[in-house]
């Protein structure tokens, strides 16, 4: 049977037009990109994690679901300050249960945003955000700027689905109606496909944005900005003129802005530039988010606890202080004594000091395939694949909630979804704490 309009559970694009056909032991996927197709193949892959395991005396052995959940509950209930890293390739419903366990135990809850667009969220808190849905840019934008993001390789369908190529209501000729600019220190495939590439020096985004802001305000930037950024001032002026002359400018930022020197201040000044640009034309800024539900954690944590990521429940109420209550910092400073990592290969993606400490402390990992985090874990709980094997909610890159339906069932009789697994775990943790 062919299933249509399946949501892709990979990058922040959360594409909603994937078509799949399950056959005997194979899956045929249409419309997904290379990354999406690879994830859909996990439903039938030979390396899928299908049995819970625990590490005992250095040896890994298969155990029953009940034994794995018991050991997980023991680790969490005996921890003074557990870290809950609630990854972004699972549903808001699962993340919500994880947040409640963290609150109950007085732990720290965080998600991929903290090592992704966390500084972007902080920049928005500083400056506010002229935002829009992805459809606005698709229908209206005649100038697209990719700043610090290699969209062709990190969100492969963004250019064809939302950004550059689609025919929009006011951009009827698609690519021919649009000017495309890339700002990146690397000559990426996205930069090669652009009309203009500003190949700035690494870590000079703030200086370049500041100079553009100065030009927009009718002033001359200091000549040293050419040497600092590597971009000639006439090119900066040309860029500002192109923006002012456009009907709608869609700016999409990536980690090149939020993860280089300047961090959230880069985003703050970019958003202030966007606000100012709205005196001349319509302009908005959005983040190309790396995971299908990384925006969802920010939304969920904000409406449940008031803060978008890095929430510390240690004092009995939620606290948020990036740099102190965020995942990499609590690990680097050895401020937690156990960890629960769900649907995110944290060991693979954090710096060595933090990864080494994470491997030292008792860790529970919920995932679908072998990876550095499962290797370093004391307990591994097999994951259910959202949008394929269970239903739930993602928030897309533009913070639009997307409800997804499965096309097959969980392969595990013991659990229907990661939300279900976490609810079972929470019940065991409560039973141990209240015994």
């Amino acid at each position: 049977m062919v299933y249509k309009n399946i949501i892709c559970p990979v990058c922040g694009g959360s594409c909603d037009d994937v078509q799949v056909e399950l056959k005997d032991g194979t899956i045929d996927v249409q419309n997904a990109c290379k990354m999406g197709n690879a994830k859909f193949q996990e439903v039938v892959s030979s390396h899928r994690l299908l049995k819970p395991t625990i590490r005992e005396n250095g040896k890994v052995k298969d155990v029953s679901w009940d034994e794995a959940l018991e050991m997980s509950a023991d680790i969490l209930a005996n921890s003074k300050r557990p870290l809950f890293f609630l990854g972004s390739e699972t549903s808001c419903e699962a993340q919500e249960v994880g947040l409640h366990i963290a609150e109950y135990l007085g732990g720290v809850a965080d998600s991929n945003a903290t090592i992704c667009h966390g500084p972007t969220v902080m920049g928005i808190q500083e400056a506010g955000c002229v935002g829009s849905t992805a459809g606005q840019a698709k229908n209206r934008a005649d100038m697209i700027i990719y700043w610090g993001v290699n969209a062709l390789e990190s969100m492969p369908r963004h250019m064809s689905k939302y950004g550059v190529f689609p025919r929009g209501y006011w951009a009827k000729k698609g690519r021919f109606d649009r000017t495309m600019v890339t700002v990146d220190p690397r000559k990426t495939p996205t930069a090669v496909a652009s009309d203009l590439h500003l190949q700035l020096k690494p870590n000079t985004d703030y200086e370049l944005l500041s100079a553009l802001f100065t030009i927009l305000n009718g002033k001359e930037p200091h000549p040293s900005v050419e040497e600092i950024t590597g971009i000639p001032i006439p090119v900066m002026k040309q860029t500002i003129e192109m923006m002012k002359e456009s009907n709608y400018v869609g700016i999409f930022v990536g980690l090149g802005v939020s993860s280089s020197y300047g961090k959230h201040r880069n985003i703050e000044i970019a958003l202030n530039l966007v606000k100012e640009m709205n005196n001349y034309t319509k302009c908005n800024l959005g983040a190309l988010r790396g995971h299908c539900n990384v925006a969802g954690f920010n939304q969920l944590a904000s409406y449940l606890y008031g803060y978008p990521f890095g929430i510390d429940f240690g004092k009995g109420y939620p606290r948020y202080n990036p740099g102190e209550t965020t995942c990499v910092d609590v690990l680097r400073e050895k401020d937690v004594d156990a960890a629960f990592v769900m649907s995110a290969d944290l060991v693979n993606h954090i710096p060595a000091d933090a990864a080494k400490y994470l491997a030292d402390i008792p860790m529970i990992c919920l995932d679908i395939a072998p990876c550095p985090s499962t290797t370093a874990s004391d307990v591994v709980l097999p994951g259910v694949i959202d949008a394929m094997e269970c239903d739930g909610t993602f928030y897309r890159l533009d913070n639009v909630p997307v409800h997804f339906e499965p096309f097959t069932d969980s392969p595990f009789p013991e659990t229907k979804s990661n939300e279900d697994t976490l609810k079972q775990l929470f019940a065991k943790v409560k039973a141990k704490k209240e015994a």
Binding site: A38, P185, S258, A355, P372
Partner: protein, 129 residues
């Protein structure tokens, strides 16, 4: 050679990571690679492998080299992966996010073996020999 390290996605890094193949040879071939420009490659003596060391000198990792026109002199790129993150600057500047873009590193030729992802976890992070 002192350089600024940029890390980020490549399409095959994404394909292999999302497909659960982080322990495959293909993943190592794609990600355990330091991209340098021709000028820096020549200055390093055209090595097949380089050792990349973090700014504090504490962490280092051996990776293969790839000559490319996509980066300028003094800049290197390693695809987002465990190899890159061994040497990424862990300070978050009070934001929670490490310096995945623009970390200062040093790069030198090496004959060290390029470890696979599981070896890095077991040897560097879990301390097994």
């Amino acid at each position: 050679m002192e350089a600024l390290l940029n890390t980020g996605s490549t399409i095959d890094e994404g394909r292999l990571a999302k497909g659960g193949n982080k322990y495959s040879e293909d993943y190592k071939t794609e990600c355990a690679v330091c991209w340098v420009c021709a000028e820096d490659f020549a200055a390093l003596g055209c090595p097949e492998k380089v050792k990349v060391t973090s700014r504090d000198g504490v962490h280092s990792v051996a990776v293969s080299t790839k000559v490319t026109e996509s980066v300028k002199s003094g800049h290197v790129f390693i695809p987002r992966s465990i190899w890159a993150n061994v040497v990424v600057e862990p300070s978050t500047f009070s934001t929670g996010s490490p310096l995945y873009k623009g970390s200062p590193v040093s790069v030198e030729p090496t004959d060290d073996v390029v470890m696979d992802a599981e070896e890095i976890v077991l040897k560097l992070y879990m301390g097994e020999e």
